[in-house]
Amino acid sequence: MVCQTVETLAVDFARKTTSRQGEELIRGTLYFQAPEEVIIKVVEPTEQWNVYRGKDLLIYYPAERKAFRFVSRNRLMVPFAQSFIGLVREDFGLSDAGFLLTENRKRANVLITVWSPPRSLRSYVSEARVGIQDAHPLFLEFYDPRGNLLTRVTYLEYREDLEPSFPGRTLIFQKSPDMEIRDDIRYSNHRVNEILPTEVTDFTLPEGVAVEELKW
C-alpha cells in the first residue's frame, strides 16, 4: 500500500477532458513534495503553473507575467490533483480534509471504507467511499446529500515495477444535474523519491508579476 514513504513524486500526464463543450487535451508534469505541496506545470495548450499549498492556490502564467491567488478557508478539494495525491496517504488525505471513517465492509475481494464529511461540506457531500483491492486503491467516490453520485475516480494500469506502485491511468467522472465531465488521465515517467527540479522546489513568483487575489 502506498503510504508515508513517498517524500517526492514527479509524473508526466496527458489529460483528456470530455464535456458539453467538447474535448480538451492538457499536457504537463505533476510534482508532489511531502507533506502537502502539489505543483502542476502545464505545457500544453498554454504554459501555466498551478501551485497548491494547503489552503492556497496560485496560478501563474510566465508568458503573460500574470498570476491569480485563491485563498480558501477550507482545504482545497481539487479532483485532478487530489485523486493522485491521495494515493500517497494511507487515508487518501481524507482525514486531513476533515472526513471521519464511519464504516468498513467487504464486497468480494474489495475492501470498501465509508467516510463522513466535515460540517462545512455536508450541504454538498453526504459521504465518501474508497475501494481497495490487492492493496491497491481501486476507486474513490463522493455522494451528494440525496445519495446521488457526484464524483468517481477509478485507478487503472498500475505500474508494478515501481516501489511503491502507482496507477498509469485514472478515470474521473463528475456529475451535476446539468452536466457531466469525464477525465481520462494517463501518467508516464513516474519518478518516486527523486530530487525535484529546483524550479519546482524553489518556486516563487518573479518580481514584477501582477497578482490578483481572490477569496476562495
Binding site: 502542476i40 495548450p45 498554454t46 501555466q48 496560478i59 481539487v78 479532483p79 450541504s123 477569496k215 476562495w216
Partner: protein
C-alpha cells in the same frame, strides 16, 4: 547626360528592391492584422467562455442563509464585502483570459445569489424579531390588565359600600 543615364541604370536595382520590399509589406500587413485580430478574438472567446462557465458554476452557497439568520442586518452586508468562493479545479490548463472571465462571471453570479440567501435568512430573523416584540408587548399588557382587575376585585370585596374605594386612596370611610 550619360551620368544621369548611368545613375538611372545604377539606381534601378535599388528601386526594384525597394518596390519589392514595399509590396511584401503591403501583402503582409493584412495577414498581420488578421493574426492580431485572431489572437484578440481568441482571447475574447476564452473570456466569454470562462464567464459562462463561471456563471454556471456559481451555486450561491446555501451557507449564506446562516449569516443572515444569526447576524440580522449585518449578515446582509457580508455577501457584498467578502468575495464568494471561486473553485479552481476547472482552471488547470486554461488561458489567462479564460481565468479572468471565469472569476468575473462566478463572482458576479454568486454575490447576488448569496445576497438573496442572506435576505432569506434576514427575513426569517425579522419575522422572529417582530413576533417576539409583539408577544412581549401582549404579555406586558396582559399582566397589567390582570393586575388591575385583581386589585379592583379585592377592593370591592374588602370595602363597605359606603367607603370610597378609589385605587390611589385605598379604602377610606366617607
Amino acid at each position: 547626360m550619360s551620368m544621369i543615364k548611368e545613375r538611372s541604370v545604377q539606381n534601378r536595382p535599388l528601386w526594384k528592391c525597394v518596390a519589392l520590399i514595399l509590396s511584401l509589406c503591403l501583402c503582409a500587413a493584412p495577414l498581420a492584422a488578421q493574426q492580431e485580430s485572431g489572437e484578440s478574438g481568441s482571447m475574447a472567446e476564452d473570456y466569454n467562455q470562462g464567464w459562462l462557465d463561471g456563471q454556471f458554476d456559481a451555486e450561491g452557497k446555501g451557507l449564506w442563509i446562516l449569516s443572515g439568520l444569526f447576524l440580522g442586518p449585518i449578515g446582509i452586508i457580508l455577501p457584498w464585502v467578502i468575495s464568494p468562493k471561486v473553485p479552481g479545479a476547472h482552471l488547470i490548463g486554461k488561458s489567462v483570459a479564460y481565468v479572468e472571465g471565469y472569476t468575473d462571471g462566478y463572482q458576479q453570479k454568486a454575490k447576488p445569489k448569496n445576497f438573496l440567501y442572506s435576505m432569506i435568512g434576514f427575513g426569517v430573523w425579522a419575522v422572529a424579531a417582530v413576533a417576539g416584540t409583539v408577544l412581549a408587548v401582549r404579555a406586558a399588557e396582559s399582566a397589567s390588565d390582570s393586575c388591575a382587575e385583581s386589585f379592583g376585585q379585592k377592593c370591592a370585596e374588602s370595602c363597605a359600600p359606603d367607603l370610597n374605594c378609589s385605587p390611589d386612596l385605598g379604602c377610606s370611610s366617607q
